[in-house]
C-alpha cells in the first residue's frame, strides 16, 4: 500500500471475482467504496453504525458490516457482494430459497440477510432453528419477514 495523497490510500481488492484497484480516502469505509466508487449499491447504508446489517458483505468468506470496515484495511482481500453471488445467471441456493419462501417484503435488508446467511452456513455454528435465529440477529428486518427468512435458510441448508 502506497500513499498517494496525504489522506488517500491505494487499495487493490478482488470484488466479485474481478481485480479492482484505486485510491480511496483514508476515512472511506468499504461500504463507501462499494457504493460510491464501484457503483455496487446492493449493500445498503441503512444505519451507518453497525446495528442493522443491511450493508453485510463477505470478505475472505467471512460476513462483515461494510459500514464499519475501513476500505484501506481491505487491501489484498476478496470481497463478495450480492451482485456477485449468482453464478452464470443461476441464483445462489440461498437466493432461490428466499424467493420460494417470500423471505422479503420491501427487500431493503435482503442483500445483507442473504450474505449473512451464506457466511453463517460456512461457519457451521447454526445447528438448529434457535441457534440460526441467534446467529442471524445481526441483520434487522423492519417489515418482519424473519420467520420466512429463517425458513428459507433452513431449506437451503438442508438442500
Amino acid at each position: 500500500m502506497t500513499r498517494r495523497f496525504l489522506d488517500h490510500t491505494e487499495i487493490a481488492m478482488s470484488v466479485n471475482g474481478e481485480p479492482r484497484r484505486g485510491a480511496a480516502p483514508a476515512c472511506a469505509t468499504l461500504l463507501d467504496v462499494l457504493r460510491d466508487e464501484l457503483g455496487l449499491t446492493g449493500a445498503k447504508r441503512a444505519c451507518d453504525r453497525g446495528t442493522c446489517g443491511a450493508c453485510t458483505v463477505l470478505v475472505d468468506d467471512r460476513r462483515i458490516y461494510a459500514c464499519l470496515a475501513l476500505a484501506a484495511a481491505q487491501d489484498g482481500r476478496r470481497v463478495v457482494t450480492i451482485e456477485g453471488l449468482a453464478r452464470g445467471g443461476e441464483l445462489h441456493p440461498i437466493q432461490r430459497a428466499f424467493v420460494a419462501h417470500d423471505a422479503l417484503q420491501c427487500g431493503y435488508c435482503t442483500p445483507g440477510q442473504i450474505l449473512s446467511a451464506v457466511g453463517l452456513l460456512g461457519e457451521g455454528r447454526a445447528t438448529d432453528e434457535a441457534s440460526l435465529r441467534e446467529q442471524m440477529s445481526g441483520n434487522l428486518c423492519r417489515c418482519g419477514a424473519y420467520p420466512n427468512i429463517v425458513a428459507a435458510i433452513r431449506d437451503a441448508a438442508g438442500a
Partner: protein
C-alpha cells in the same frame, strides 16, 4: 469550504408560495430540537456533511415544554382523531349501572417508523418543469402539494417513487417538507440536487407514533356483561401541527355495550410532529382496551375469551349500522383451538417450564376498512403484452404482485407475462400507500378495467373475419389460459392482438360515500410467553392468530403482512421506546442499538389462520391485511405476562425493569 455550492437558511431561502403544510427555512422560529435550520449543497455527500457540521447557528433561548407531562392541564380537543370524530358518546356512561368496575391508566411511549431504507429525494428543474424521484408513499398527493408550493401547473410536476424500502407511515406527509427543501435548493443552484436523511435524523424528522396516556373505566355485571366503557386519551402534538391517533376506535366498536364515551385530547409540546405509524391509534388503543378487559376478566373470575364472546356485538354499536361482514367469533374459535386455549389454567403463575414461568394471554382486534378512489388502466399490445398501470406505490407489501395477479387471473395469462407500472404521476391516479387500503382501493378499479378489456377483445374477435371466432355470439366466447375459445374454435390472445393491434381500457372506482354497512377487518391473537423470574426477561414463545380480512387475493402475501404486523407489535410490547431528555428536548437513544426493534432472536413460532370472510357489501371484497396484525398483540403479550407472573404491566414497553423489584 471545498465543494460547497450553496448554503440556504431561513434568511436566504426562497419564499414558498403556498403551504398547507408546515415547511422548513420559511421562518426563524425553532419548534423542536433537531429541526433543520440550514441546508448545505455541495459537490459530494462527504463535503456536504462536513460543511453542514461547520455551520454556526446562533439562536435565542426561550422557555420550552418538551414533553406533555408537566402540561397535561393544557390539553385541548383536536378537530379529529385520525379519520374519526374526536369524541363519542352513546348512552349515559356516568349513570349506567356499575355493579363491578375497574378504572386503570395505561401508557404507551413514542415509537418510530424506521423503515430500513432512509428517505431520499432527487429534484431536477427544467425551466418551470420539476421532476422529483423520491421515496414517497403518495406520489399524487405530493405532486399537487409541490405544484402549489412552487406556483407551477400540476402537469409540470412529476413525482416518481418506483421502489420503496418500507414506509410504515414515515414516508408520507412528514417527508413532504424535504421534497420542498430539495426542489427549492435545486432551483436555487440551477442543478439537480439529492437529499438523504441519516438514521440519526430519522429519529426527529419523519414523524413518530405519539405517546399516549389512556384512562379506561369499564363497568360490568358480575356475569361479565359490559355496562359502560369510557376511554380517554391524552397525547402530544407539536407547536406547528396537529395530529391525534384514533386510539378509541376499538372501544367504540369492538363490544356490545350500551353506555360508551370516548375522547382524544392533545397537548402542544416543543417536539417533532407525531403522525400515523402502522395501525395508528388502534395499535396503542387496543393495548389499553384489551388489557383492561383482561383485568376485568380476572377480577370477575371469568375466562378472558369467554368475556369477549359474551360481549360480542352483532352490529356496529357506534354507528348502529349492520356489519358488512364480521367473522370475529370464527377468529376466536380458530385461533383458540390452534393455541389450545381450553387447557389454560386459571391459576396465575401455575405454568412452569424449568426455571421459566409461562403465561397465556389473548386479545381481540379490529381495524377499519379505509379505501380511496382509484384509476387504473389495463392494456394489451403486440410488443409488451399485458400491462397494468396505476399510480400507487409498492411499500414492499406486494402491490406490484397483486396488480399483476388481478390482470393475469381475469385474462387467463401467466402471472409472469403481465408487466406492472406504478409509482409515477404520469400513470392513472392511484391511492396513497397506507392504512391497509391500497389493495382494497385498486382491486375494484383494476377488475373493472380488465373486465372491459376482456369484453372488447372478445367483441373484436367475433367481429373480425380473419379470426377463427368470427361470427360467434360474444357470450359464447371464453378467455382462458391466454386463448379465446368458443364453439370448438380457438385463437390465442397474442395472435388476435398481433393482427388487430393493441387495446387499452381504463376504469375509475370510488368508495360508496354513504355506506349502508360498517366495514372492519377482525382478528384474535393468542400468545404464550416465558418469563425468567430472576432476570425479568420476557420471551414470546408462540403466537396463534386468526384474521378475517375479507377477500384474500394472495394468501402468501397476506400471511407475510400479518406476521409483519405482529412483529411490530412484539416490538411495541417489549422493545420500542424513544427516550427524550426533557431539558434539551433531544432524543437520547437516536440509533438502532439503543432504540431496540425486534430481531431474529425475538421471534416466536407463528401460526396464522385466514378465516373466510365473504363481504357482500364491499366492491372487490378486499379489507386489507397491513394494519390489523399490529392491533391487539401488545395487550395479548401483557396479558400473558400477567398470567405468568401476576404482574400487571400497564406501561409499555415491558422490560426487565418492569418485572424486577
Amino acid at each position: 469550504m471545498p465543494g460547497v455550492v450553496a448554503v440556504l437558511t431561513h434568511a436566504s431561502a426562497p419564499r414558498i408560495a403556498s403551504a398547507r403544510l408546515p415547511l422548513l427555512l420559511q421562518d426563524p422560529a425553532v419548534c423542536f430540537a433537531g429541526q433543520p435550520v440550514a441546508v448545505v449543497v455541495a459537490e459530494t455527500v462527504t463535503q456536504a456533511r462536513r460543511a453542514a457540521a461547520a455551520v454556526e447557528v446562533t439562536c435565542e433561548a426561550s422557555a420550552a415544554i418538551t414533553t406533555m407531562h408537566p402540561a397535561l392541564d393544557r390539553a385541548y380537543a383536536p378537530r379529529s382523531a385520525g379519520h374519526v370524530a374526536t369524541d363519542s358518546r352513546r348512552g349515559d356512561p356516568e349513570r349506567a349501572p356499575r355493579p363491578r368496575e375497574i378504572a386503570r391508566r395505561y401508557t404507551t411511549p413514542t415509537q418510530l417508523h424506521h423503515p430500513l431504507e432512509p428517505p431520499f429525494v432527487v429534484a431536477r428543474w427544467d425551466g418551470d418543469a420539476l421532476v422529483v424521484h423520491t421515496t414517497t408513499q403518495a406520489v399524487f398527493a405530493h405532486r399537487q402539494q409541490l405544484a402549489d408550493c412552487f406556483g407551477v401547473p400540476v402537469e409540470r410536476v412529476r413525482v416518481v417513487s418506483r421502489l420503496l424500502g418500507g414506509g410504515f407511515g414515515g414516508k408520507g406527509r412528514a417527508w413532504f417538507p424535504y421534497l420542498v427543501l430539495c426542489a427549492m435548493a435545486a432551483r436555487h443552484v440551477a442543478r439537480p440536487v439529492a437529499l438523504e436523511l441519516t438514521r440519526a435524523e430519522m429519529f426527529t424528522l419523519i414523524g413518530r407514533r405519539q405517546e399516549t396516556i389512556q384512562d379506561l373505566r369499564i363497568a360490568a355485571t358480575s356475569h361479565g356483561e359490559l355496562t359502560a366503557i369510557t376511554h380517554d386519551t391524552v397525547a402530544p402534538t407539536s407547536m406547528y401541527g396537529e395530529y391525534a391517533d384514533p386510539t378509541a376506535t376499538v372501544s367504540r366498536v369492538l363490544y356490545a355495550c350500551p353506555h360508551v364515551a370516548t375522547s382524544h385530547r392533545l397537548v402542544r409540546v416543543h417536539a417533532p410532529q407525531p403522525n400515523p405509524m402502522r395501525a395508528p391509534g388502534e395499535g396503542p388503543g387496543s393495548f389499553a382496551l384489551e388489557s383492561a378487559l383482561d383485568e376485568l376478566a380476572h377480577e370477575l373470575g371469568i375466562d378472558p375469551l369467554a368475556l369477549r364472546l359474551r360481549n360480542h356485538t352483532e352490529h356496529d354499536p357506534h354507528t348502529g349500522l349492520p356489519w358488512s361482514s364480521n367473522q370475529l367469533r370464527a377468529c376466536y374459535r380458530v385461533a383458540a383451538e390452534a393455541f389450545g386455549w381450553a387447557a389454560r389454567p386459571r391459576q396465575i403463575g401455575s405454568l412452569r417450564e424449568g426455571r421459566h414461568r409461562l403465561g397465556w394471554g389473548m386479545a381481540g382486534a379490529c381495524y377499519p376498512v379505509y379505501r380511496m378512489a382509484s384509476h387504473a388502466e389495463v392494456s394489451v399490445d403486440p410488443a409488451r403484452g399485458v400491462v397494468v398501470r396505476c399510480g400507487t406505490q409498492d411499500l414492499g407489501t406486494g402491490t406490484t404482485t397483486i396488480l399483476a395477479q388481478l390482470a393475469a387471473g381475469a385474462l387467463g395469462v401467466p402471472l409472469g407475462d403481465v408487466a406492472v407500472e406504478i409509482g409515477d404521476t404520469q400513470l392513472p391516479e392511484g391511492p396513497y400507500s397506507g392504512g391497509a387500503h391500497v389493495t382494497a382501493s385498486v382491486t375494484p378499479a383494476v377488475e373493472q378495467a380488465v373486465h372491459r378489456l376482456r369484453h372488447q377483445l372478445i367483441e373484436r374477435a367475433v367481429a373480425d373475419p380473419a379470426s377463427p371466432l368470427s361470427g360467434l355470439a360474444p357470450e359464447r366466447v371464453a378467455l382462458t389460459g391466454g386463448t379465446l375459445t368458443g364453439a370448438g374454435r380457438a385463437e390465442p390472445l397474442a395472435a388476435l392482438v398481433a393482427r388487430t393491434g393493441g387495446l387499452a381500457c381504463t376504469a375509475h372506482t370510488a368508495p360508496d360515500p354513504e355506506p349502508r354497512a360498517s366495514s372492519y377487518a377482525h382478528g384474535a391473537v393468542f400468545v404464550e410467553v416465558a418469563v425468567d423470574p430472576d432476570l425479568g426477561e420476557v420471551r414470546v414463545r408462540r403466537i396463534c392468530a386468526a384474521y378475517a380480512c375479507g377477500r384474500i387475493l394472495n394468501p402468501l402475501l397476506a400471511h407475510s403482512q400479518l406476521v409483519g404486523g405482529l412483529v411490530l407489535g412484539i416490538g411495541m410490547a417489549l422493545h420500542e421506546a424513544t427516550v427524550t431528555d426533557a431539558r434539551s428536548g433531544r432524543v437520547v437513544n437516536a440509533n438502532l442499538a439503543d432504540y431496540a426493534i425486534a430481531g431474529h432472536a425475538d421471534m416466536p413460532r407463528f401460526e396464522i389462520a385466514l378465516v373466510d370472510d365473504d363481504d357482500p357489501h364491499l366492491a372487490g371484497g378486499v379489507k386489507g391485511t397491513g394494519m390489523i396484525g399490529t392491533v391487539g398483540i401488545a395487550a395479548a403479550i401483557a396479558n400473558a405476562v400477567f398470567h405468568a407472573t401476576g404482574r400487571r404491566i400497564r406501561d409499555l414497553p415491558i422490560r426487565l425493569e418492569s418485572l424486577l423489584g
